[in-house]
Symmetry: C2
Subunit: 394 residues, 2 copies
């Protein structure tokens, strides 16, 4: 594989297609913040502002400014979104709403913990880019609120009868694995270490189940047991694979080869488990017992699943040089570029049917924004550049 060429391909796509799309079409110059509901060509089809996606775009522009290049357009795009969020995104106590209208009026209550986690990484990265202490404070305070909510993230909006069947979910420890490194500069070493230890333990020892053939499941009981229920049988291969590159990053940070090796094993196993042998691509949801899942969209192919898997495979190869990583990367790269990239208009499709055809032609919506595609392209190009540099030196 020509890693230099690959790095160029990913970098060109990021710099010439994806980031210009969001810079040009998503910024709301009248009220601030970003439009994310953008059709195939980039036209706005809905003006609601979803806090997940607002925060992720602030994060993305600041993060690439910090990590890739000091593009002032990126920085000012990030700042304008952050100012909108600072003003309208939370209730005054850093409880982050789920959605706002175009003007910034709150629409949906702060029931969703991931509005908080993405706000944290957004203001964390932007504080690094700007040195602005207010942004750092917002990130730190929001992180403190998250820690008070870990045991019951939905709070009063939780519809489970108390004490009935309390399950814990994989998504929060998984996201905290990533968040830990994104706001490392704001945390005291003690807190950071404990956070990392807890998250790695939860992901690799609790949600990863060797007795099921090495599958990561979405929900377990509070004491870590399997639950033979719809939620307890649920598998989301993309989630599991995404978490593995967070673990690999932590493995590098902690110099822990054991967890890197385990994360690569799980990546390869979950790909094999989640791959659609008939039409290609990775299923969205599965049931670990092979029963019908609740989710009607179970067989669809989603952009983020495939892009996150490209990251885990490229990092897995970089860190272990296992040939299976490269083989899987090749297969997935071909599928992803052939099906998700729109050959006619900028940005990528998000939602394909099982057969690999666009199910929705939108480029952004309520859940797809400026995040997985650019983050994935960036992570992969960084890996490929690194490998290519090493080869040149040798």
């Amino acid at each position: 594989m020509d890693f230099k060429l690959l790095a160029e391909l990913y970098e060109t796509e990021l710099l010439e297609n994806i980031m210009p799309f969001w810079l040009k079409y998503s910024q709301d110059e009248e009220f601030g913040g970003y439009f994310t509901c953008l059709d195939r060509e980039g036209n706005v089809f809905d003006t609601d502002k979803f806090v997940w996606l607002q925060a992720r775009e602030v994060y993305m522009f600041a993060s690439l400014y910090n990590k890739l290049n000091k593009n002032e357009e990126w920085l000012s795009c990030s700042i304008q979104g952050a100012e909108f969020l600072k003003k309208h995104g939370h209730d005054g106590d850093y409880n982050w709403y789920f959605s706002l209208d175009r003007e910034g009026n709150a629409l949906v209550e702060p029931y969703n913990i991931f509005s908080y986690t993405f706000a944290t990484i957004a203001f964390g990265q932007l504080s690094l880019a700007t040195g602005n202490k207010e942004y750092a404070e917002i990130a730190k305070k929001t992180f403190e609120v998250i820690l008070t909510k870990v045991d019951n993230p939905k709070g009063k909006w939780n519809k489970a009868v108390p004490g009935s069947r309390n399950l814990k979910n994989f998504a929060l420890p998984m996201i905290l694995c990533n968040l830990a490194l994104e706001i490392e500069h704001l945390l005291s070493p003690g807190i950071l270490e404990k956070l990392i230890d807890d998250c790695v333990h939860e992901v690799l020892e609790v949600f990863y189940r060797p007795e099921l053939g090495g599958v990561v499941i979405e929900n377990v009981t509070l004491d870590g047991q399997l639950s033979n229920t719809f939620e307890g049988r649920l598998v989301n291969p993309g989630h599991a694979i995404e978490a593995m590159w967070f673990i690999m990053d932590l493995g590098v940070r902690l110099n822990r080869e054991d967890i890197i090796k385990k994360a690569v094993d799980i990546t390869l196993n979950m790909l094999d488990y989640g791959w659609d042998k008939k039409y290609g691509g990775i299923f969205y949801f599965m049931d670990r017992s092979g029963f019908p899942p609740q989710q009607l969209e179970w067989d669809q192919k989603l952009w983020w699943v495939h892009i996150e898997a490209l990251i885990s495979l490229s990092k897995g190869y970089q860190l272990t040089e296992r040939p299976e990583c490269l083989e899987w990367f090749g297969r997935l790269h071909d599928y992803t570029w052939a099906h998700f990239k729109d050959p006619e208009f900028p940005e990528w499709y998000g939602y394909l049917n099982r057969q690999g055809e666009p199910l929705l032609t939108l480029k952004g919506g309520k859940w797809k924004g400026c995040f997985h595609v650019p983050r994935g392209l960036f992570q992969c190009l960084k890996v490929f550049k690194n490998i290519a540099d090493k080869i040149e030196i040798n």
Copy 2:
């Protein structure tokens, strides 16, 4: 069309395939109530008990006992489910939980108003079948609770910020149209008339929008205006078409030819609007502006949509003799029987992909139970018998 043969086909399917399936596979003889998560062959794959489906099955067996034939097995099946619900289904104040575990312990809080509406028709029909006053009381009390919740059905679980963007939803007035006739024997005439007037007004004057080319939409503002938002643009053709046979029934009851004619017009228009011209079948969700809907399952073909449309078309033909009703009925009958009926095992599939292939092979689950298929077969056979009898007399 040979209506006698059609009536026989629908009756045979109901009596020899569908009802025996639920009698045999769904009854929990150990804890009471019904299993509804049944795989293609009828095996239980999950034991949770969803109050919607428990109540609908109680209703279905009691209703067919009342309306079709005095089968004592049906009555005792209905009673055993009702006793389970009476004991476990509500909190003591007729707030009906959303789900229970197998033993009857409450799992999900009573946030969903349709648990209440289906409990009302269940106990209403069973009180008619048995003369049991306790059942009648449960239906009446639950109905009173519903009336207190009409303005904010989700109560404290409503995640919309108060005063932000309050929309009202089509489903509740639609269901109340049907509920009114199902519990007529329990209501005082004044209350019944007001309920009917309100519902017919909401459905035909508020959610039906002539200015959109005659489309029924799912959500409008509290004062009945269009809302250019995801929710405000949402169209669910199956919902709209189902409501039309409720309206036709009310039209017959009130002797109102005008609303019958309007309901038939809307049925035909919504079928044309919702029909998938490429693969056949009726779409699940659409956006009235043609924008991408939020629902990833938008292009799927659901059993209840097609069965409810068969009812509206057959009643529409019976009441108006319009040939378009019969043409559409023929097309839809062919699609439905060819794709939803399982040629090998009992009961019908519930979920097809856009192409018409089974997406899930389950016969029952969290949302599909003993309800739409038997109710639809019963309603159609009644219509066809009635038409065939009239033809014979002439």
